[in-house]
Protein backbone atom coordinates (compact mmCIF):
# COMPACT_ATOMS: atom_id res chain seq x y z
CA UNK A 1 0.00 0.00 0.00
CA UNK A 2 1.19 3.47 -0.78
CA UNK A 3 1.33 6.17 1.82
CA UNK A 4 -1.22 8.09 -0.18
CA UNK A 5 -3.94 5.56 0.31
CA UNK A 6 -3.69 5.82 4.06
CA UNK A 7 -4.53 9.47 4.07
CA UNK A 8 -8.12 10.58 4.27
CA UNK A 9 -9.21 12.14 0.99
CA UNK A 10 -10.62 15.23 2.65
CA UNK A 11 -7.15 16.21 3.82
CA UNK A 12 -5.83 16.38 0.28
CA UNK A 13 -8.79 17.86 -1.39
CA UNK A 14 -7.20 17.81 -4.85
CA UNK A 15 -8.88 15.50 -7.32
CA UNK A 16 -5.95 14.21 -9.35
CA UNK A 17 -6.43 10.95 -11.26
CA UNK A 18 -4.01 9.26 -8.85
CA UNK A 19 -5.96 10.54 -5.96
CA UNK A 20 -9.22 9.31 -7.47
CA UNK A 21 -7.76 5.85 -7.93
CA UNK A 22 -6.41 5.77 -4.40
CA UNK A 23 -9.74 6.95 -3.09
CA UNK A 24 -11.52 4.25 -5.03
CA UNK A 25 -9.10 1.64 -3.78
CA UNK A 26 -9.50 2.77 -0.24
CA UNK A 27 -13.24 2.70 -0.54
CA UNK A 28 -13.20 -0.88 -1.75
CA UNK A 29 -10.92 -1.85 1.08
CA UNK A 30 -13.20 -0.19 3.59
CA UNK A 31 -16.24 -1.93 2.14
CA UNK A 32 -14.47 -5.21 2.35
CA UNK A 33 -13.49 -4.62 5.96
CA UNK A 34 -17.07 -3.74 6.85
CA UNK A 35 -18.39 -6.88 5.26
CA UNK A 36 -15.62 -9.03 6.68
CA UNK A 37 -17.05 -9.97 10.10
CA UNK A 38 -20.38 -11.14 8.73
CA UNK A 39 -18.67 -12.63 5.69
CA UNK A 40 -16.22 -14.66 7.75
CA UNK A 41 -18.94 -15.66 10.16
CA UNK A 42 -21.24 -16.95 7.44
CA UNK A 43 -18.41 -18.72 5.63
CA UNK A 44 -17.45 -20.60 8.77
CA UNK A 45 -20.84 -21.14 10.37
CA UNK A 46 -23.01 -21.44 7.31
CA UNK A 47 -21.13 -22.16 4.09
CA UNK A 48 -19.00 -24.92 5.57
CA UNK A 49 -21.96 -26.70 7.22
CA UNK A 50 -23.89 -26.27 3.99
CA UNK A 51 -21.00 -27.94 2.20
CA UNK A 52 -21.53 -30.96 4.44
CA UNK A 53 -25.19 -31.14 3.43
CA UNK A 54 -24.28 -30.96 -0.25
CA UNK A 55 -21.76 -33.76 0.27
CA UNK A 56 -24.43 -35.83 2.00
CA UNK A 57 -26.82 -35.41 -0.91
CA UNK A 58 -24.48 -37.60 -2.96
CA UNK A 59 -24.31 -40.30 -0.29
CA UNK A 60 -26.40 -43.43 0.23
CA UNK A 61 -28.77 -44.31 3.05
CA UNK A 62 -27.54 -47.38 4.88
CA UNK A 63 -29.81 -50.06 6.27
CA UNK A 64 -29.56 -48.42 9.69
CA UNK A 65 -30.53 -45.01 8.42
CA UNK A 66 -27.02 -43.60 8.66
CA UNK A 67 -25.31 -42.22 5.58
CA UNK A 68 -22.62 -43.91 3.58
CA UNK A 69 -20.48 -41.26 1.88
CA UNK A 70 -18.02 -43.35 -0.10
CA UNK A 71 -19.31 -44.28 -3.54
CA UNK A 72 -20.84 -40.99 -4.60
CA UNK A 73 -23.98 -41.23 -6.65
CA UNK A 74 -26.89 -39.23 -8.00
CA UNK A 75 -29.66 -41.55 -6.84
CA UNK A 76 -31.16 -39.00 -4.49
CA UNK A 77 -31.39 -36.46 -7.27
CA UNK A 78 -33.08 -39.00 -9.52
CA UNK A 79 -35.81 -39.43 -6.90
CA UNK A 80 -36.67 -35.75 -7.33
CA UNK A 81 -38.37 -36.51 -10.64
CA UNK A 82 -41.17 -38.48 -8.98
CA UNK A 83 -44.77 -37.36 -9.46
CA UNK A 84 -45.23 -37.23 -5.72
CA UNK A 85 -42.43 -34.68 -5.32
CA UNK A 86 -43.87 -32.47 -8.02
CA UNK A 87 -47.37 -32.60 -6.56
CA UNK A 88 -46.04 -31.63 -3.17
CA UNK A 89 -43.95 -28.86 -4.70
CA UNK A 90 -46.77 -27.27 -6.71
CA UNK A 91 -49.22 -27.44 -3.85
CA UNK A 92 -46.69 -25.75 -1.57
CA UNK A 93 -45.82 -23.02 -4.08
CA UNK A 94 -49.49 -22.20 -4.53
CA UNK A 95 -50.07 -21.92 -0.78
CA UNK A 96 -46.93 -19.84 -0.29
CA UNK A 97 -47.91 -17.48 -3.13
CA UNK A 98 -51.39 -17.04 -1.71
CA UNK A 99 -49.92 -16.29 1.71
CA UNK A 100 -47.48 -13.76 0.27
CA UNK A 101 -50.16 -11.89 -1.69
CA UNK A 102 -52.52 -11.72 1.29
CA UNK A 103 -49.70 -10.48 3.51
CA UNK A 104 -48.76 -7.83 0.97
CA UNK A 105 -52.33 -6.58 0.64
CA UNK A 106 -52.75 -6.31 4.41
CA UNK A 107 -49.27 -5.05 5.25
CA UNK A 108 -48.85 -2.35 2.62
CA UNK A 109 -51.57 0.02 3.83
CA UNK A 110 -50.56 -0.77 7.38
CA UNK A 111 -46.91 0.11 6.81
CA UNK A 112 -47.95 3.22 4.87
CA UNK A 113 -50.19 4.35 7.69
CA UNK A 114 -47.41 3.70 10.18
CA UNK A 115 -45.02 5.82 8.14
CA UNK A 116 -47.40 8.80 8.26
CA UNK A 117 -47.42 8.94 12.04
CA UNK A 118 -44.98 10.74 14.33
CA UNK A 119 -41.69 9.05 15.20
CA UNK A 120 -42.81 8.14 18.69
CA UNK A 121 -46.09 6.59 17.56
CA UNK A 122 -44.32 4.76 14.75
CA UNK A 123 -41.92 3.02 17.11
CA UNK A 124 -44.72 2.16 19.45
CA UNK A 125 -46.74 0.72 16.59
CA UNK A 126 -43.74 -1.31 15.51
CA UNK A 127 -43.15 -2.76 18.95
CA UNK A 128 -46.83 -3.59 19.28
CA UNK A 129 -46.63 -5.52 16.03
CA UNK A 130 -43.85 -7.64 17.47
CA UNK A 131 -45.08 -8.23 21.01
CA UNK A 132 -47.46 -11.11 20.13
CA UNK A 133 -44.52 -12.90 18.61
CA UNK A 134 -42.59 -13.03 21.84
CA UNK A 135 -44.92 -15.70 23.05
CA UNK A 136 -44.19 -19.16 21.87
CA UNK A 137 -45.20 -19.87 18.28
CA UNK A 138 -46.59 -23.28 19.15
CA UNK A 139 -48.73 -21.73 21.81
CA UNK A 140 -49.98 -19.14 19.31
CA UNK A 141 -50.89 -21.92 16.93
CA UNK A 142 -52.79 -23.71 19.67
CA UNK A 143 -54.61 -20.50 20.53
CA UNK A 144 -55.89 -20.49 16.95
CA UNK A 145 -56.97 -24.06 17.59
CA UNK A 146 -59.41 -22.80 20.16
CA UNK A 147 -60.53 -19.85 18.05
CA UNK A 148 -61.17 -21.86 14.89
CA UNK A 149 -62.69 -24.99 16.48
CA UNK A 150 -66.36 -25.93 16.34
CA UNK A 151 -67.12 -24.24 19.66
CA UNK A 152 -64.68 -21.40 19.18
CA UNK A 153 -65.36 -17.67 18.86
CA UNK A 154 -65.08 -17.76 15.07
CA UNK A 155 -67.78 -20.39 14.79
CA UNK A 156 -69.97 -18.48 17.27
CA UNK A 157 -69.70 -15.31 15.22
CA UNK A 158 -70.52 -17.21 12.04
CA UNK A 159 -73.53 -18.74 13.77
CA UNK A 160 -74.66 -15.35 15.01
CA UNK A 161 -74.42 -13.98 11.47
CA UNK A 162 -76.62 -16.81 10.26
CA UNK A 163 -74.01 -19.03 8.60
CA UNK A 164 -74.44 -21.85 11.08
CA UNK A 165 -71.57 -23.30 13.11
CA UNK A 166 -68.42 -23.21 11.03
CA UNK A 167 -65.32 -25.14 11.85
CA UNK A 168 -62.35 -23.58 10.09
CA UNK A 169 -59.88 -25.76 11.97
CA UNK A 170 -58.25 -28.48 9.87
CA UNK A 171 -59.02 -26.83 6.54
CA UNK A 172 -56.78 -25.23 3.93
CA UNK A 173 -58.18 -21.83 4.90
CA UNK A 174 -56.95 -22.35 8.43
CA UNK A 175 -53.49 -23.15 7.09
CA UNK A 176 -53.36 -19.97 4.99
CA UNK A 177 -54.66 -17.93 7.89
CA UNK A 178 -52.07 -19.41 10.21
CA UNK A 179 -49.28 -18.70 7.74
CA UNK A 180 -50.47 -15.13 7.21
CA UNK A 181 -50.58 -14.64 10.96
CA UNK A 182 -47.10 -16.04 11.41
CA UNK A 183 -45.39 -14.18 8.60
CA UNK A 184 -47.21 -10.83 8.48
CA UNK A 185 -44.50 -9.07 10.56
CA UNK A 186 -41.90 -10.25 8.06
CA UNK A 187 -43.81 -8.23 5.46
CA UNK A 188 -44.56 -5.23 7.64
CA UNK A 189 -40.99 -4.63 8.82
CA UNK A 190 -39.19 -4.22 5.47
CA UNK A 191 -42.19 -2.42 3.94
CA UNK A 192 -42.23 0.07 6.77
CA UNK A 193 -38.47 0.53 6.58
CA UNK A 194 -38.75 1.28 2.86
CA UNK A 195 -41.82 3.53 2.94
CA UNK A 196 -40.71 5.52 5.95
CA UNK A 197 -37.71 6.96 4.10
CA UNK A 198 -39.69 8.16 1.07
CA UNK A 199 -39.76 11.93 0.71
CA UNK A 200 -43.41 12.91 1.15
CA UNK A 201 -42.88 15.97 -1.04
CA UNK A 202 -42.59 13.71 -4.08
CA UNK A 203 -46.11 12.41 -3.45
CA UNK A 204 -47.44 15.92 -2.91
CA UNK A 205 -45.73 17.09 -6.06
CA UNK A 206 -47.35 14.32 -8.07
CA UNK A 207 -50.76 15.29 -6.72
CA UNK A 208 -50.08 18.97 -7.45
CA UNK A 209 -49.27 18.00 -11.01
CA UNK A 210 -52.72 16.47 -11.36
CA UNK A 211 -52.12 12.80 -10.69
CA UNK A 212 -55.03 10.90 -9.17
CA UNK A 213 -54.47 9.13 -5.88
CA UNK A 214 -54.11 5.84 -7.70
CA UNK A 215 -51.67 7.27 -10.25
CA UNK A 216 -49.56 8.79 -7.56
CA UNK A 217 -49.47 5.41 -5.77
CA UNK A 218 -48.74 3.46 -8.92
CA UNK A 219 -46.11 5.80 -10.37
CA UNK A 220 -44.45 7.27 -7.29
CA UNK A 221 -45.10 5.46 -4.02
CA UNK A 222 -45.00 1.88 -5.27
CA UNK A 223 -41.78 2.18 -7.31
CA UNK A 224 -40.05 3.98 -4.46
CA UNK A 225 -41.12 1.34 -1.95
CA UNK A 226 -40.24 -1.55 -4.26
CA UNK A 227 -37.18 -2.66 -2.28
CA UNK A 228 -39.44 -3.17 0.73
CA UNK A 229 -42.05 -5.05 -1.32
CA UNK A 230 -39.38 -7.35 -2.66
CA UNK A 231 -37.63 -7.97 0.63
CA UNK A 232 -40.98 -8.57 2.36
CA UNK A 233 -42.24 -10.95 -0.32
CA UNK A 234 -39.11 -13.01 -0.05
CA UNK A 235 -39.18 -13.09 3.73
CA UNK A 236 -42.78 -14.34 3.57
CA UNK A 237 -42.76 -16.58 0.50
CA UNK A 238 -39.71 -18.65 1.34
CA UNK A 239 -40.49 -19.51 4.95
CA UNK A 240 -44.11 -20.32 4.04
CA UNK A 241 -42.82 -22.69 1.40
CA UNK A 242 -40.87 -24.56 4.05
CA UNK A 243 -43.36 -24.20 6.91
CA UNK A 244 -44.55 -27.43 8.44
CA UNK A 245 -45.62 -26.88 12.02
CA UNK A 246 -48.51 -24.54 11.19
CA UNK A 247 -49.86 -26.69 8.32
CA UNK A 248 -49.65 -29.80 10.48
CA UNK A 249 -51.35 -28.24 13.48
CA UNK A 250 -54.01 -26.08 11.81
CA UNK A 251 -54.48 -28.14 8.66
CA UNK A 252 -54.62 -31.50 10.40
CA UNK A 253 -51.70 -32.79 8.29
CA UNK A 254 -54.18 -34.01 5.69
CA UNK A 255 -52.03 -33.02 2.76
CA UNK A 256 -48.27 -33.09 2.52
CA UNK A 257 -46.46 -29.83 1.97
CA UNK A 258 -42.84 -29.35 1.06
CA UNK A 259 -41.69 -28.48 4.58
CA UNK A 260 -43.14 -31.60 6.15
CA UNK A 261 -41.95 -33.68 3.20
CA UNK A 262 -38.37 -32.61 3.85
CA UNK A 263 -38.77 -33.17 7.58
CA UNK A 264 -40.13 -36.66 6.87
CA UNK A 265 -37.04 -37.49 4.85
CA UNK A 266 -34.61 -36.32 7.52
CA UNK A 267 -36.52 -37.75 10.47
CA UNK A 268 -39.06 -40.55 9.86
CA UNK A 269 -37.32 -42.03 6.84
CA UNK A 270 -33.84 -41.13 8.12
CA UNK A 271 -32.92 -40.68 4.48
CA UNK A 272 -30.38 -37.86 4.85
CA UNK A 273 -29.17 -38.05 1.23
CA UNK A 274 -32.65 -37.54 -0.18
CA UNK A 275 -33.47 -34.82 2.36
CA UNK A 276 -30.18 -33.13 1.51
CA UNK A 277 -30.80 -33.41 -2.23
CA UNK A 278 -34.31 -31.96 -1.88
CA UNK A 279 -32.95 -29.05 0.17
CA UNK A 280 -30.03 -28.43 -2.14
CA UNK A 281 -32.21 -28.19 -5.24
CA UNK A 282 -34.83 -26.11 -3.45
CA UNK A 283 -32.20 -23.69 -2.21
CA UNK A 284 -30.54 -23.39 -5.61
CA UNK A 285 -33.89 -22.57 -7.24
CA UNK A 286 -34.86 -20.12 -4.53
CA UNK A 287 -31.49 -18.40 -4.59
CA UNK A 288 -31.64 -17.96 -8.34
CA UNK A 289 -35.20 -16.63 -8.13
CA UNK A 290 -34.28 -14.30 -5.28
CA UNK A 291 -31.31 -12.82 -7.06
CA UNK A 292 -33.24 -12.31 -10.29
CA UNK A 293 -36.14 -10.81 -8.36
CA UNK A 294 -33.89 -8.42 -6.46
CA UNK A 295 -31.96 -7.33 -9.55
CA UNK A 296 -35.17 -6.63 -11.43
CA UNK A 297 -36.62 -4.83 -8.45
CA UNK A 298 -33.45 -2.77 -8.23
CA UNK A 299 -33.72 -1.71 -11.83
CA UNK A 300 -37.23 -0.38 -11.54
CA UNK A 301 -35.96 2.21 -9.07
Amino acid sequence: MTALSRRAPAEDGIATPEFEAAHERQKRWRGFLMALPAYAYLLLFFAVPLGIVVVYSFGTRTRFGTTELSGWNLESYEKLGRDLVQQVLFRSIWLALLTTVICLVIAYPFAYYMATRSARVRNLMLVFVMIPFWTNFLVRNYAWYVILGTDGPFSRVAEFLGFGPTRLLFTQSAVVMGLVYGFLPFMILPLYAAIERIDGRLLEASRDLGATGYQSFRRVLLPLSMPGVIAGSILVFIPSLGAYVTPDILGGAKTTLLGSYIVTQFLSARDFPFGAALSTVLMALMLAATIVYFRRGGRTL
Binding site: A35, F46, R117, F137, A143, A193
Partner: protein, 275 residues
Amino acid sequence: MSTSAGITEPRGWFRRVLQANAWLVYAFFYLPIVLLVIYSFSDNRNVGVWGGATLDWYREFANDEPIKTALGNSLKIAAASTTVSVVLGTMAALALERYKFRGRGFFDALLYLPVIIPDVTMAVMMLLFFAEAAKILGFSRGFSTITLSHIAFSISFVSIVVRARLAGTDEKLEEAAMDLYASRWQAFRYVTLPTIMPGVLGGGLLALTLSLDDVVITQFVTGGGWNTLPVYVFGLIRKGVTPLINAVSVVMLVASTVLVGLSLLAQRIRGGEPV
Protein backbone atom coordinates in the same frame (compact mmCIF):
# COMPACT_ATOMS: atom_id res chain seq x y z
CA MET B 1 -34.36 12.30 12.74
CA SER B 2 -35.44 11.81 9.14
CA THR B 3 -33.44 13.97 6.79
CA SER B 4 -36.23 14.38 4.27
CA ALA B 5 -39.81 15.41 4.87
CA GLY B 6 -41.89 12.39 5.86
CA ILE B 7 -45.16 11.42 4.31
CA THR B 8 -47.94 13.60 5.62
CA GLU B 9 -50.96 12.03 7.15
CA PRO B 10 -53.71 11.51 4.60
CA ARG B 11 -57.13 13.03 5.14
CA GLY B 12 -60.76 12.10 4.69
CA TRP B 13 -62.10 8.64 3.88
CA PHE B 14 -58.67 7.37 2.87
CA ARG B 15 -57.35 8.03 6.31
CA ARG B 16 -60.27 6.24 7.88
CA VAL B 17 -59.70 3.20 5.68
CA LEU B 18 -56.04 3.12 6.71
CA GLN B 19 -56.96 3.49 10.34
CA ALA B 20 -59.54 0.73 10.15
CA ASN B 21 -57.00 -1.54 8.48
CA ALA B 22 -54.48 -0.85 11.23
CA TRP B 23 -56.99 -1.64 13.95
CA LEU B 24 -58.01 -4.82 12.18
CA VAL B 25 -54.37 -5.89 11.88
CA TYR B 26 -53.88 -5.36 15.59
CA ALA B 27 -57.11 -7.19 16.36
CA PHE B 28 -55.84 -10.10 14.27
CA PHE B 29 -52.48 -10.05 16.02
CA TYR B 30 -53.90 -9.83 19.52
CA LEU B 31 -56.95 -12.09 19.29
CA PRO B 32 -54.97 -15.28 20.03
CA ILE B 33 -52.85 -13.42 22.57
CA VAL B 34 -55.87 -12.24 24.52
CA LEU B 35 -57.23 -15.77 24.51
CA LEU B 36 -53.88 -17.10 25.61
CA VAL B 37 -53.73 -14.68 28.52
CA ILE B 38 -57.32 -15.41 29.56
CA TYR B 39 -56.85 -19.17 29.63
CA SER B 40 -53.64 -18.84 31.60
CA PHE B 41 -55.95 -17.96 34.50
CA SER B 42 -58.40 -20.77 33.83
CA ASP B 43 -58.91 -23.48 36.42
CA ASN B 44 -59.28 -26.28 33.88
CA ARG B 45 -56.50 -28.42 32.53
CA ASN B 46 -57.77 -28.06 28.96
CA VAL B 47 -57.18 -24.82 27.14
CA GLY B 48 -60.49 -23.76 25.61
CA VAL B 49 -62.59 -24.83 28.59
CA TRP B 50 -63.07 -22.09 31.17
CA GLY B 51 -62.95 -23.45 34.69
CA GLY B 52 -63.06 -20.30 36.82
CA ALA B 53 -60.23 -17.93 37.66
CA THR B 54 -57.09 -19.15 39.35
CA LEU B 55 -53.44 -18.26 39.71
CA ASP B 56 -52.46 -21.91 40.08
CA TRP B 57 -50.69 -22.12 36.75
CA TYR B 58 -48.45 -19.20 37.65
CA ARG B 59 -47.77 -20.82 40.99
CA GLU B 60 -46.93 -24.05 39.21
CA PHE B 61 -44.63 -22.14 36.90
CA ALA B 62 -42.91 -20.49 39.87
CA ASN B 63 -42.20 -23.92 41.34
CA ASP B 64 -41.16 -25.54 38.08
CA GLU B 65 -37.38 -25.43 37.98
CA PRO B 66 -36.92 -26.95 34.48
CA ILE B 67 -39.21 -24.36 32.91
CA LYS B 68 -37.60 -21.46 34.74
CA THR B 69 -34.14 -22.62 33.73
CA ALA B 70 -35.29 -23.03 30.13
CA LEU B 71 -36.81 -19.54 30.13
CA GLY B 72 -33.57 -18.07 31.45
CA ASN B 73 -31.59 -19.92 28.81
CA SER B 74 -33.86 -18.66 26.05
CA LEU B 75 -33.53 -15.05 27.15
CA LYS B 76 -29.74 -15.29 27.47
CA ILE B 77 -29.39 -16.84 24.02
CA ALA B 78 -31.80 -14.35 22.45
CA ALA B 79 -30.00 -11.37 23.95
CA ALA B 80 -26.57 -12.58 22.82
CA SER B 81 -27.60 -13.61 19.32
CA THR B 82 -29.62 -10.44 18.73
CA THR B 83 -26.77 -8.16 19.77
CA VAL B 84 -24.16 -9.87 17.63
CA SER B 85 -26.38 -10.30 14.58
CA VAL B 86 -27.57 -6.68 14.65
CA VAL B 87 -23.98 -5.42 14.58
CA LEU B 88 -22.77 -7.86 11.94
CA GLY B 89 -25.95 -7.65 9.86
CA THR B 90 -25.96 -3.85 9.80
CA MET B 91 -22.30 -3.72 8.81
CA ALA B 92 -22.95 -6.23 6.06
CA ALA B 93 -25.93 -4.21 4.81
CA LEU B 94 -23.87 -1.00 4.73
CA ALA B 95 -21.01 -2.72 2.93
CA LEU B 96 -23.31 -4.18 0.31
CA GLU B 97 -25.34 -1.05 -0.32
CA ARG B 98 -22.56 1.53 -0.15
CA TYR B 99 -19.40 -0.15 -1.36
CA LYS B 100 -18.10 -2.24 -4.17
CA PHE B 101 -15.58 -4.84 -3.18
CA ARG B 102 -14.29 -8.14 -4.38
CA GLY B 103 -16.43 -11.06 -3.48
CA ARG B 104 -19.47 -8.82 -3.20
CA GLY B 105 -21.63 -10.96 -5.48
CA PHE B 106 -20.78 -14.13 -3.63
CA PHE B 107 -21.36 -12.47 -0.27
CA ASP B 108 -24.71 -11.18 -1.49
CA ALA B 109 -25.78 -14.72 -2.37
CA LEU B 110 -24.37 -16.15 0.84
CA LEU B 111 -26.43 -13.70 2.86
CA TYR B 112 -29.70 -14.92 1.34
CA LEU B 113 -29.04 -18.59 1.96
CA PRO B 114 -29.92 -18.66 5.68
CA VAL B 115 -33.33 -17.20 4.80
CA ILE B 116 -33.89 -19.69 2.05
CA ILE B 117 -32.77 -22.87 3.80
CA PRO B 118 -35.50 -25.06 5.31
CA ASP B 119 -35.28 -25.16 9.12
CA VAL B 120 -34.71 -28.85 9.40
CA THR B 121 -31.93 -28.80 6.81
CA MET B 122 -30.14 -26.08 8.68
CA ALA B 123 -30.67 -28.01 11.90
CA VAL B 124 -29.14 -31.18 10.49
CA MET B 125 -26.22 -29.38 8.91
CA MET B 126 -25.36 -27.41 12.02
CA LEU B 127 -25.44 -30.62 14.04
CA LEU B 128 -23.13 -32.40 11.60
CA PHE B 129 -20.85 -29.37 11.54
CA PHE B 130 -20.60 -29.00 15.32
CA ALA B 131 -20.09 -32.74 15.70
CA GLU B 132 -17.13 -32.56 13.30
CA ALA B 133 -15.73 -29.44 14.90
CA ALA B 134 -16.01 -31.01 18.35
CA LYS B 135 -13.80 -33.87 17.22
CA ILE B 136 -11.02 -31.38 16.61
CA LEU B 137 -11.71 -28.81 19.29
CA GLY B 138 -13.41 -30.98 21.86
CA PHE B 139 -16.23 -28.74 23.09
CA SER B 140 -19.66 -29.93 24.12
CA ARG B 141 -22.88 -28.63 22.65
CA GLY B 142 -25.00 -26.18 24.59
CA PHE B 143 -25.21 -22.41 24.98
CA SER B 144 -22.41 -21.63 22.53
CA THR B 145 -23.61 -23.89 19.71
CA ILE B 146 -27.20 -22.68 20.03
CA THR B 147 -26.13 -19.04 20.04
CA LEU B 148 -23.75 -19.49 17.11
CA SER B 149 -26.54 -21.11 15.08
CA HIS B 150 -29.05 -18.41 15.94
CA ILE B 151 -26.59 -15.71 14.88
CA ALA B 152 -25.99 -17.56 11.60
CA PHE B 153 -29.61 -17.17 10.53
CA SER B 154 -30.32 -13.83 12.23
CA ILE B 155 -27.55 -11.91 10.42
CA SER B 156 -29.37 -12.41 7.14
CA PHE B 157 -32.73 -11.26 8.40
CA VAL B 158 -31.20 -8.13 9.93
CA SER B 159 -29.24 -7.26 6.82
CA ILE B 160 -32.23 -7.72 4.53
CA VAL B 161 -34.36 -5.36 6.59
CA VAL B 162 -31.57 -2.78 6.93
CA ARG B 163 -30.85 -2.95 3.20
CA ALA B 164 -34.49 -2.31 2.39
CA ARG B 165 -34.01 0.87 4.40
CA LEU B 166 -30.67 1.81 2.90
CA ALA B 167 -31.51 1.21 -0.74
CA GLY B 168 -31.76 4.55 -2.45
CA THR B 169 -30.84 6.71 0.55
CA ASP B 170 -28.37 9.36 -0.30
CA GLU B 171 -24.77 8.84 0.70
CA LYS B 172 -23.98 12.42 -0.26
CA LEU B 173 -25.21 13.44 3.16
CA GLU B 174 -22.37 11.60 4.83
CA GLU B 175 -19.91 13.04 2.34
CA ALA B 176 -21.26 16.49 3.09
CA ALA B 177 -20.83 15.86 6.80
CA MET B 178 -17.25 14.84 6.22
CA ASP B 179 -16.62 17.85 4.04
CA LEU B 180 -17.73 19.80 7.06
CA TYR B 181 -14.93 18.13 9.03
CA ALA B 182 -16.95 15.41 10.71
CA SER B 183 -14.79 12.37 11.36
CA ARG B 184 -15.83 9.15 9.68
CA TRP B 185 -17.22 7.95 13.01
CA GLN B 186 -19.11 11.18 13.60
CA ALA B 187 -20.59 11.00 10.13
CA PHE B 188 -21.74 7.47 10.83
CA ARG B 189 -23.00 8.23 14.29
CA TYR B 190 -24.87 11.44 13.52
CA VAL B 191 -25.89 10.99 9.89
CA THR B 192 -25.96 7.37 8.76
CA LEU B 193 -27.13 5.68 11.92
CA PRO B 194 -30.18 7.91 12.53
CA THR B 195 -31.18 7.38 8.90
CA ILE B 196 -31.05 3.60 9.07
CA MET B 197 -32.27 3.30 12.67
CA PRO B 198 -35.81 2.14 11.79
CA GLY B 199 -34.26 -0.64 9.73
CA VAL B 200 -31.82 -1.60 12.48
CA LEU B 201 -34.60 -1.60 15.05
CA GLY B 202 -36.87 -3.69 12.83
CA GLY B 203 -34.07 -6.11 12.05
CA GLY B 204 -33.20 -6.41 15.71
CA LEU B 205 -36.80 -7.12 16.69
CA LEU B 206 -36.97 -9.75 13.99
CA ALA B 207 -33.74 -11.37 15.16
CA LEU B 208 -35.00 -11.42 18.75
CA THR B 209 -38.28 -13.00 17.72
CA LEU B 210 -36.60 -15.64 15.58
CA SER B 211 -34.28 -16.61 18.39
CA LEU B 212 -37.06 -16.80 20.99
CA ASP B 213 -39.18 -18.93 18.67
CA ASP B 214 -36.70 -21.37 17.27
CA VAL B 215 -37.33 -25.01 18.09
CA VAL B 216 -36.07 -27.06 15.23
CA ILE B 217 -32.49 -25.84 15.00
CA THR B 218 -32.09 -25.51 18.76
CA GLN B 219 -33.17 -29.04 19.54
CA PHE B 220 -30.55 -30.41 17.17
CA VAL B 221 -27.61 -28.33 18.37
CA THR B 222 -28.34 -28.45 22.07
CA GLY B 223 -26.43 -30.71 24.43
CA GLY B 224 -26.32 -32.14 27.92
CA GLY B 225 -28.52 -30.21 30.30
CA TRP B 226 -29.38 -27.37 27.92
CA ASN B 227 -33.04 -26.75 27.26
CA THR B 228 -34.59 -23.64 25.79
CA LEU B 229 -38.18 -22.75 26.46
CA PRO B 230 -39.54 -23.51 22.97
CA VAL B 231 -37.84 -26.92 22.98
CA TYR B 232 -39.31 -27.70 26.37
CA VAL B 233 -42.75 -26.49 25.33
CA PHE B 234 -42.56 -28.53 22.13
CA GLY B 235 -42.06 -31.60 24.30
CA LEU B 236 -44.85 -30.62 26.70
CA ILE B 237 -47.34 -30.18 23.89
CA ARG B 238 -46.98 -33.85 23.09
CA LYS B 239 -48.68 -34.43 26.42
CA GLY B 240 -51.34 -31.86 25.71
CA VAL B 241 -51.62 -28.10 25.91
CA THR B 242 -52.32 -27.05 29.48
CA PRO B 243 -52.75 -23.49 30.78
CA LEU B 244 -49.29 -23.93 32.30
CA ILE B 245 -47.87 -23.43 28.82
CA ASN B 246 -50.06 -20.34 28.46
CA ALA B 247 -48.78 -18.99 31.75
CA VAL B 248 -45.21 -19.58 30.60
CA SER B 249 -45.97 -17.74 27.37
CA VAL B 250 -47.39 -14.79 29.24
CA VAL B 251 -44.25 -14.62 31.37
CA MET B 252 -42.11 -14.83 28.26
CA LEU B 253 -44.15 -12.06 26.66
CA VAL B 254 -43.71 -9.80 29.66
CA ALA B 255 -40.01 -10.64 29.98
CA SER B 256 -39.18 -9.85 26.37
CA THR B 257 -41.32 -6.71 26.39
CA VAL B 258 -39.41 -5.49 29.42
CA LEU B 259 -36.12 -6.44 27.74
CA VAL B 260 -36.94 -4.47 24.62
CA GLY B 261 -38.40 -1.60 26.61
CA LEU B 262 -35.21 -1.30 28.62
CA SER B 263 -32.97 -1.42 25.56
CA LEU B 264 -35.07 1.26 23.86
CA LEU B 265 -34.90 3.37 26.98
CA ALA B 266 -31.13 2.91 27.24
CA GLN B 267 -30.79 3.94 23.63
CA ARG B 268 -32.86 7.03 24.20
CA ILE B 269 -30.83 8.06 27.22
CA ARG B 270 -27.54 7.51 25.47
CA GLY B 271 -28.64 9.00 22.16
CA GLY B 272 -30.33 11.97 23.79
CA GLU B 273 -32.90 11.80 21.05
CA PRO B 274 -35.91 9.59 20.55
CA VAL B 275 -35.31 6.91 17.98
